[in-house]
């Protein structure tokens, strides 16, 4: 039995969520191959070959693969499906975009966002924003799965000695083209893999007030996140959003500042090890999941916290 892991990368570096996806593949058990589809992506391929637990890296290097367009990459993956029992991708916007297309082309049901491997056919996944957990068994010969990265401990990105093999691309489907990306640049750690996350909500009142949280984050080596309310209000860009439809995080410490704790936000952070809530409304639902709650006006508490942290 062989498992194919779809590597998310930017042609140079491998996205950290791939390491958690390999861990899920190890939990299933079997020979693990990795697909790097991109363009001028030999650096990414070498990085993938160094990941612990991968025996073979398959590279499809072509101009039409450069930007991860699903119409070009899904047929490539579907064409490889016969050789595998499982195909796994991280449940990031990259994996969520491509994998259902692969599943349809392979006439296979997809199991989205798994958080546990029960056995090679059976997996656990959250439904209803994580308010219920479903255990599902697939009757398909091929299992197509996206993996929630926070649920699996990342494997090491060094020590692997995979062989690298080239395959042809599937060609340009001629259906879509990439124009540009506007990626948020930040010196801070990535939200989904940070050890500490400091998030602000509607209570921040204004985007400029996020500066206070950024100062705290920099002292703690933390990433900055936000609730949907803060993103909808335009305080911060969409990629800050933590929640059911944004990013799912599970850091060692999650600080929710001015966040009421709507169900859809809790879905994105309630697996954090330690949760701190700062909110002036002592009835806010966020306090029901917080290990440490501070009922206070954030505009007093956050500057004080800044001072306390030195």
């Amino acid at each position: 039995m062989s498992i194919l892991v779809i590597v998310e990368h930017d042609n140079g570096t491998v996205n950290a969520a791939t390491l958690n996806t390999v861990a899920a593949a190890q939990a299933i058990g079997g020979d693990i191959h990795a697909l790097v589809s991109g363009h001028n992506c030999s650096t990414a391929a070498e990085a993938a070959a160094a990941i612990a637990g991968i025996s073979k890296v398959i590279v499809s290097d072509a101009a039409e693969n450069a930007n991860g367009l699903a119409e070009n990459i899904a047929p490539l993956i579907a064409g490889m499906a016969d050789s595998y029992s499982h195909i796994l991708a991280p449940a990031t916007t990259y994996g969520k975009n491509i994998l259902p297309r692969v599943a349809a082309l392979s006439d296979t049901a997809q199991i989205s966002d798994i958080i546990a491997v029960i056995d090679k056919d059976t997996f656990q996944r959250p439904i209803y924003a994580g308010n219920a957990l479903a255990t599902v068994r697939s009757g398909d010969a091929l299992k197509i799965i996206t993996v929630r990265s926070t649920a699996f401990e990342a494997v090491a990105d060094t020590g692997g000695t995979a062989t690298i093999e080239q395959i042809d691309a599937a060609g340009d489907a001629g259906l879509s083209s990439f124009e540009k990306s506007e990626l948020s640049k930040s010196e801070r750690p990535e939200l989904t893999s940070a050890g500490i996350v400091v998030s602000g909500g509607r209570g921040m009142q204004d985007g400029s007030n996020f500066g206070m949280l950024e100062k705290i984050a920099d002292k703690l080596g933390a990433a900055v996140g936000a609730s949907r309310a803060a993103v909808d209000a335009g305080f911060v860009p969409n990629d800050y959003q933590v929640g059911q439809t944004g990013k799912v995080v599970a850091p060692d410490l999650y600080m929710a500042v001015g966040i009421s704790g709507a169900i859809q936000h809790l879905a994105g952070m309630k697996d954090s090890k330690v949760i701190v809530a700062i909110n002036k409304d002592d009835e806010a639902p966020i306090f029901q999941v917080a290990d440490y709650g501070l009922v206070a006006d954030l505009f007093d508490a956050v500057p004080e916290l800044d001072t306390e942290l030195g």
Binding site: T93, S112, N131, L133, S138, I263, A301
Partner: protein, 249 residues
């Protein structure tokens, strides 16, 4: 041009979901149901395209029990023109929904399909992409901006790192994200008007789709609850706890 918008009946997003004691699923009896919020955004986008003169008809499709017709009515009251209800009493998985929608696309020949990016019940995030694959069309997922031309559409997508601009050939499947628009409320006159708009009923068999489930749900359970925490009185106490008790900073 005709726009097809699939809509799903789900538990209202304000309702606290309860797992059934026998772990067979979640409690659906006597629970308030509503249109999936992402589908409302899809309907709204279709309406805006029609109002801009770029579409002439909006057709809603829903797969589900007979009450799904209420969900279609909600969309008709927003301003869509007619509905198609595909009757199904059992749960239909995303792949089978995509096959049913494909069959409807073949009958209706829309120039565009706009879907919600995911339904808030099973959170699968699959149907739009699967439909697009089955049709051999372009897909534009997680759209936060749609600029429709005559042969192509420019889409801004919400991705993990920020935003991505792509161009897709039409016809295409677009799946919408939260910030694409704010759906309108149906006015009372439009709610009355919607009662007269036609809804056709079809069965899964009539569309010649095998909707047999591929996945077996063995059990549905509640997640482990977090143990209740404590309230601290001051920032100093908070920092002390984080340093010396939780040891996370």
């Amino acid at each position: 041009m005709k726009i097809l918008v699939p809509v799903k009946r789900v538990i209202d997003y304000n309702v606290k979901v309860r797992v059934k004691p026998d772990q067979s699923g979640v409690e659906l009896t006597n629970v308030k149901m509503a249109m999936n919020p992402f589908d409302e955004i899809a309907v709204e986008q279709a309406l805006r395209i029609k109002e801009a003169g770029k579409a002439d008809e909006i057709v809603l499709v829903s797969v589900g029990p007979s009450q799904s017709q209420e969900t279609i009515r909600t969309g008709l009251a927003m301003g869509a023109d007619r509905g198609i209800h595909i009757e199904a009493d059992q749960d239909i998985e995303p792949l089978a929904v995509a096959k049913l929608l494909k069959a409807v696309v073949k009958k209706e020949s829309p120039g565009l399909v706009i879907c919600g990016k995911q339904a808030i019940d099973d959170d699968s995030n699959q149907t739009g992409q699967m439909l697009s694959a089955l049709l051999g069309w372009a897909q534009a997922t997680f759209a936060s901006s749609v600029d429709l031309g005559s042969e192509k559409a420019k889409i801004i997508r919400e991705v993990d790192g920020g935003l991505e601009h792509i161009e897709v050939v039409l016809p295409a499947v677009i799946t919408v994200d939260l910030r694409l628009n704010e759906p309108r409320y149906a006015s009372l006159p439009n709610i009355m008007k919607a009662k007269k708009k036609p809804i056709d009923s079809l069965s899964v068999d009539e569309l010649s789709v095998d909707a047999t489930p591929r996945l077996k749900v063995l059990k549905v359970e509640e997640p482990a609850a977090r143990s209740a925490g404590i309230k601290v009185r001051s920032v100093a106490e908070l920092v002390d706890k984080l340093k010396n008790e939780a040891k996370v900073i």
